[in-house]
Amino acid sequence: MGDFSVRRKIFSFGCMVIGVAMMIAGLYMAITLTDFWGVRGTLIIAGCVAFFVGLYFFPTFKHHRGIINFMFLFPLLFAFAVTVIIPLVLGIGYSFTDWDGITLNKFVKFDNYTRMFHEPQFLWSVLITFLFVVLNIVLVNLVAFLLALLCTSKLKGLGFFRAAYFVPNLIGGIVLGYIWQFIFSKVVTEILNSQASMLTETKTALIGIVLVYVWQYAGYIMLIYITGLNTVPGDVLEASSIDGANSWQTLFQIKIPMIAPTITICTFLTLTSAFKQFDVNLSLTNGTGSVNFMGKFLSKGTQMLALNIYDTAFVNNEYAYGEAKAVFFFIILAIVSICQVRISNKKEVEL
């Protein structure tokens, strides 16, 4: 500390103190909704800049590098905090209230959390979401892997096939849902000569959602598998063929074990994205379909978890209750993802 001039110390501390004071004044105006002389925004920004100038000239050698690192990281951390961390904390806070998007009357403790487990519709949504996830992990990966095998073979027109399988993924889920709604209700009914489309019946509508989802997502996962398969070293394959391995043995004992990391990534991707399934669900059936569950007639037989949360908050105007469901959803996703990554990593090590 002794190596620095008094002027520099005064300048540094002065800048920081003035900066903090300006920011507090600006924030105070923002909170109390007053704005003298229209300088609210300028105060906050100028205060922030002054603070950082002071920080840059902070009289230290030992921590100077750390300060510089922090200054460069700060914009990113700040943006991350504003868009992710603060909403997460606020959301958890709101889930303990009766907030309806406009007014907040009281804290209701854990009422929203206990309430969701007494709501048959929500339990049904959880159930079919898990079912959907399991079906999708298996089907998407299977279809994607088979397509990848096809696209790494020596067929003619491979570029076309790769592009064709991938294109569905480029169409947004909402558009895709409406296109398939038309196909199911106008084209398929014409072909099967049936009166009503399969989307009007809960069971067949769920199959419809799975079909559309696999069709959309398999192309994307296929690309990752293709990359994986291309990294299998040619000399290993050559050695196996010299040793007399047939194509099945090559596939199961060389290719698949060699691409285990790819399989991890793909199952992880399909798992989380299937859990969060929303857009196709919304546009294809909007959750409709009757079902008898726990002795009740439920109107939203194909409503998955994400859509249930959306409907609770934005259609039924119960923001806090929707928020509580979202927190529950977040916990499930976090647990499942962590477990999945742990288990897969263990397997990779064993290989």
Binding site: D35, G38, R40, S290, F297, F314, Y319
Partner: protein, 428 residues
């Protein structure tokens, strides 16, 4: 030294760009005063949030005329299509960016409790019976249009078949008329008697709100809230009335176009009616807005599921309200001007709306207007109390209508199922 100079320059550039970014924002805050919400008296511009995208250009014309005639400024912002105005309003409220006038449906009034201006005693309230009055908040809603829903009919087809729509005031009369029309389908050139669609995912609002609303209001005086009060008291349903309603809906299912009934769309339903494929349609006056759309006369018949029901549902489906912390005086001035002659000219003749004001001299161009007017003049209209049911209920009940249409339920099980669904929804 050079390096240091460069870094100082860079920091200076960064800082000035940040300040520059901040600048227009603050200028904006000072200017429009909508952000702060605190001091807005000096500003005369009024911001209106419109929820009907189809009349956006007409409202822009209205704003221009308002500026011309009074010198005051009106800024129209339009939300709509798939974006829900009430969602957008919540975001605006959280951001402290509330418009001075915005659109609400009747059942949303409660969530804005204490935040809406009381418009009691304004001049325009003397010329209409359609303003939104709330027990605790007073006169809060300005009606900008009146819409009606009942069984819309193609008068030419009914005439050709020898059915007099004025006799359709009992289930028996309907049974007879439907049977007659059905037997003469080929002769009349229609595809089916009714264009009724119970598809739940895109048309749930039609069955769950509008058709269900007939159970709540058909046959009742406009201010009679018997069944909506019962419903909002824990989700109770009058079993006998619901059963009669269910039997009527069963008849509708029977005579509706089977291609439309279970998985049709709004567009197909309306296009079919416009093309003259159906004698009846289960929509309101919004489905045919221009006389150019149809080459036949249109009218409304009541949902007579009990003997003697002879009313249609008519009233404003949504209202314009003034935000209490906004420019209330500006909003009040605009409402008074909007109820006047020059504004009504644009709203009625250009936007195709039906005026809720009794002193309005313009006849709406809507093909259903003549029929609506006879009902309203005779006092034979019921309220839109279906808008007062619990938010989201329509998304639950519409599936029961769909199952009934698919033949999974009969009238009795429809009634018990819808009772259970409503009760559960209110209980949760």
């Amino acid at each position: 030294m050079r390096k240091r100079l460069l870094s100082v320059l860079m920091v200076g550039a960064m800082a000035s760009s940040l300040v520059a970014c901040g600048q227009p924002n603050t200028a904006n805050n000072g200017g429009s005063n909508s952000q702060g919400g605190g001091a807005s008296a000096d500003s005369s511009a009024v911001r209106l949030l419109n929820g009907k995208p189809e009349i956006d250009s007409q409202l822009q014309d209205l704003a221009k005329l308002y500026k011309e005639e009074t010198g005051n400024e009106l800024i129209v912002e339009t939300i709509g299509g798939d974006t829900n105005a009430s969602d957008e309003l919540k975001k605006m409220y959280q951001a402290g960016n509330m418009p001075d006038i915005f659109v609400i449906e009747a059942n949303q009034a409660a969530s804005w409790d204490g935040k809406l201006a009381d418009l009691k005693g304004e001049d325009w309230t003397n010329n209409t019976e359609f303003e939104l009055v709330d027990d605790s908040m007073g006169t809060i809603g300005f009606p900008y249009t009146v819409e009606a829903t009942a069984l819309g009919y193609n008068a030419d087809v009914l005439k050709a078949a020898g059915v007099d729509p004025s006799t359709l005031t009992s289930p028996d009369a309907y049974a007879e008329a439907f049977k007659k029309l059905d037997s003469k389908k080929d002769e009349l050139g229609i595809k089916a008697v009714l264009g009724w669609c119970a598809e739940p995912s895109n048309l749930g609002w039609s069955s769950g709100t509008h058709v269900f609303g007939q159970y709540l209001d058909a046959g009742l005086a406009a201010d009679d809230t018997t069944y909506i009060d019962l419903l909002n008291d824990g989700g109770q349903v009058d079993h006998d009335r619901m059963l009669a309603f269910a039997e009527f809906v069963g008849m509708m299912n029977q005579y509706s176009d089977p291609d439309l009934l279970v998985d049709g769309t709004y567009d197909e339903q309306v296009a079919g009616f416009k093309a003259g494929d159906y004698a009846f349609i289960t929509q309101g006056n919004w489905c045919v807005t221009s006389p150019d759309d149809v080459d036949f006369e249109c009218g409304f018949a009541p949902y007579a599921f009990e003997d003697g029901i002879d009313t249609i549902i008519a009233g404003p489906p949504s209202y314009w309200v003034a935000y209490a912390d906004g420019n209330v005086d500006g909003a009040k001035a605009f409402f008074n001007w909007c109820a006047g002659d020059s504004a009504q000219n644009i709203l009625v003749n250009d936007a195709g709306l039906v005026s809720p004001f009794s002193d309005c001299q313009y006849e709406a161009v809507n093909p259903f207007y003549a029929s609506m007017k006879t009902y309203i003049d005779a006092g034979k209209f019921s309220g839109w109390h279906t808008m007062l049911k619990k938010d989201g209920l329509q998304n639950q009940t519409c599936q029961v209508f769909a199952d009934y249409a698919q033949g999974k339920l009969d009238a009795e099980s429809f009634t018990t199922t819808i009772e259970q669904v409503i009760k559960d929804y209110y209980a949760n």
